[in-house]
């Protein structure tokens, strides 16, 4: 497992990854366990209907019906908790890649070897991508399997589509974190910038349909690529996937180039 930077990065993740997986399974179990009581409580839907439109837009894609399994997961899980979880994972992986090693000073060990700096960035990015895909895969499987216990039946194909979009959503911010870290070497900045951008993108997407001057920007939001087309109903949006993949690729290449050119002072 110590043959190259990619394998070493995956190896480093082992312990924390086990914790991430466990928390995903438990979190899904919690939402699944709540399902029967929510389904039998029509007032929840009334509550949702009575919310101001702006709030409803922020919390869920419009027209979600909380009394159906798909609507419930969409509102309760995929609109907020799911993205937070995956974005958090990806940003931690992205910031740890270069800025984290620089912060702990271990970067010197890597930089003294013949391995090119761009290769280090790409290896770390691949590890992040694999990690995010693994986490969302587990998340999807957990939703499908744990859901069967309480009759929370979800269409497997659509869940897979939603998970793909969820992984890409996280990776966009993870790649941004990697870029900032590679370009500046500053750990706090590499976490703060993506967090800030994520909040802005979330709000822009949520309010884009209501606030006319925000509307042109809505389609730029990674949250729009993620859920604008309602993946639990519509499946994969190849346009959304293409935009997200291209964004990640551009950010990673940018990070690699910036890192090649930057002074790594002590």
């Amino acid at each position: 497992m110590l043959r190259d930077v990619l394998l070493k990065t995956l190896r480093d993740q082992r312990r924390s990854y086990a914790a991430w997986c466990l928390s995903v399974v438990l979190l899904v179990a919690m939402y699944v366990a709540l399902w029967p009581s929510i389904r039998d409580q029509p007032s929840m839907q009334d509550f949702l209907d009575q919310m101001p439109q702006a709030l409803r837009n922020l919390l869920a894609t419009s027209g979600a019906d909380m009394s159906t399994p798909v609507g419930y997961i969409q509102v309760e899980f995929l609109s907020f908790m799911g993205p937070i979880l995956v974005i958090l994972y990806a940003v931690l992986a992205g910031s740890g890649a270069v800025a984290g090693e620089e912060d702990r000073r271990t970067l010197d060990l890597l930089l003294a070897t013949p391995v090119a700096r761009s290769r280090i960035v790409v290896d770390k990015a691949v590890a992040m991508v694999l990690g995010a895909l693994g986490l969302t895969t587990l998340l999807g499987v957990a939703l499908l399997l744990e859901g069967t216990f309480v009759g929370l039946d979800l269409p497997a194909g659509k869940v897979a589509a939603a998970m793909l979009h969820l992984a890409l959503l996280g990776l966009v911010f993870g790649a941004l974190s990697l870029l900032v870290g590679a370009a500046t070497g500053r750990l706090a900045l590499s976490r703060g910038v993506p967090a800030f951008v994520a909040v802005v993108a979330y709000v822009v997407n949520g309010l884009g349909g209501l606030v006319s001057w925000l509307e042109p920007f809505q389609k730029l939001s990674p949250f729009f690529q993620y859920a604008g087309h309602d993946p639990l109903h519509a499946g994969v949006s190849w346009l959304g996937v293409t935009v997200a993949v291209a964004t990640v690729a551009v950010l990673v290449v940018g990070g690699a180039l910036a890192f090649e050119r930057r002074d790594v002072a002590s």
């Binding site: 271990t106 010197d108 070897t113 002072a265």
Partner: protein, 302 residues
């Protein structure tokens, strides 16, 4: 004269508006053990990181093996072992894990030398790095730098934290490396740490290279403390004008001064013009010679 392994030509490095290094010209030849001396913050680490291609010179050129230190760093790093001034290791990885990882990144798989090296330094490779003492971390860094049998070693304060016994073993390793034709650039803030191994010495102060000397030449300049008791009071003037003589102090009939070997003859001739009661002449420690000499050079720069 060997070929130039490291060549810095008029190298300046600024960080923002701070000039860390100004107009440094430096050549380290094959087989040299070059001791790079200066106080903390003088620019030693900056120079070493320029050589390692971790930072880019603001102006000037840094070459290693005739290649550009910044652009061709990957090719250079195949032939270099490096110890950072601030040794950091992966906390959870054991010594052997570090050896395997760095060995693979160097393209060598599992370097067979590592075990023997660790044994010579008295370092176990089984424990994770976070459990190692400062001295043992430094030893592991040495093993990682030396295990690939690089042509050039770039060592930033390598003996900090090593106890004297280990330091001796480390010096033997460096001497063997040089005997094989290898080159070393090592920094330190004290001469005594490098005088046993260095063939040449460079002194840096406030970003300027103020002196480069063969260690043998420094030794030839070794100061002697001279003390003469005359029969009657003498004047300082005649002694102060002798070339190389410094710190002339006269208290009545007692003369004290410092003189390098080369000034002893004219000094004694001047002394013998007077009636001498007693005379002592003691060679100073090399460190003292060096400091006297180097503080003067540094003052000239400022």
């Amino acid at each position: 004269m060997g070929a130039a392994v490291i060549r810095c030509e008029d190298v300046t490095k600024r960080f923002g508006t701070t000039e860390a290094l100004g107009g440094v010209d430096l050549v380290v030849e094959a087989g040299d053990v070059f001791g790079y001396l200066g106080p903390n913050g003088a620019g030693k680490t900056t120079t070493l990181r320029l050589v390692m291609g971790m930072i880019r010179p603001t102006s000037g050129r840094v070459e290693v093996f005739g290649l550009d230190a910044w652009r061709d760093r990957s090719a250079i790093h195949r032939r270099v072992g490096y110890i950072s001034g601030d040794v950091a290791l992966y906390d959870r990885l054991t010594g052997q894990d570090h050896v395997d990882f760095v060995g693979h990144l160097q393209g060598l798989g599992r370097p067979p030398e590592a075990g023997a090296l660790a044994e010579r330094l008295g370092l176990g490779l089984r424990r994770p790095a976070r459990e190692l003492s400062r001295g043992n971390r430094q030893k592991l860094a040495l093993v990682l730098a030396l295990m690939t049998r690089p042509e050039l070693l770039v060592l930033d304060e390598p003996s900090s934290g090593l106890d004297p016994m280990v330091q001796r073993e480390f010096h033997t390793l460096l001497a063997q490396h040089a005997a094989r034709g290898g080159t070393v650039l090592l920094s330190s803030h004290v001469l005594s740490e490098v005088q046993r191994v260095a063939t040449r010495i460079g002194v840096i102060s406030r970003g300027r290279l103020v002196a480069v000397e063969r260690l043998d030449d420094v030794r030839a300049k070794a100061l002697h403390h001279v003390e003469v008791q005359f029969a009657s009071p003498v004047a300082a003037g005649a002694f102060e004008t002798i070339e190389g003589v410094r710190d002339v102090r006269i208290e009545g009939a007692l003369l004290r001064c410092d003189a390098p070997q080369s000034s002893l003859d004219p000094l004694l001739k001047e002394v013998s013009r007077h009636e001498v009661v007693d005379l002592t002449c003691i060679e100073a420690e090399l460190e003292e010679t060096f400091m006297a000499y180097y503080t003067k050079a540094a003052a000239d720069v400022a």
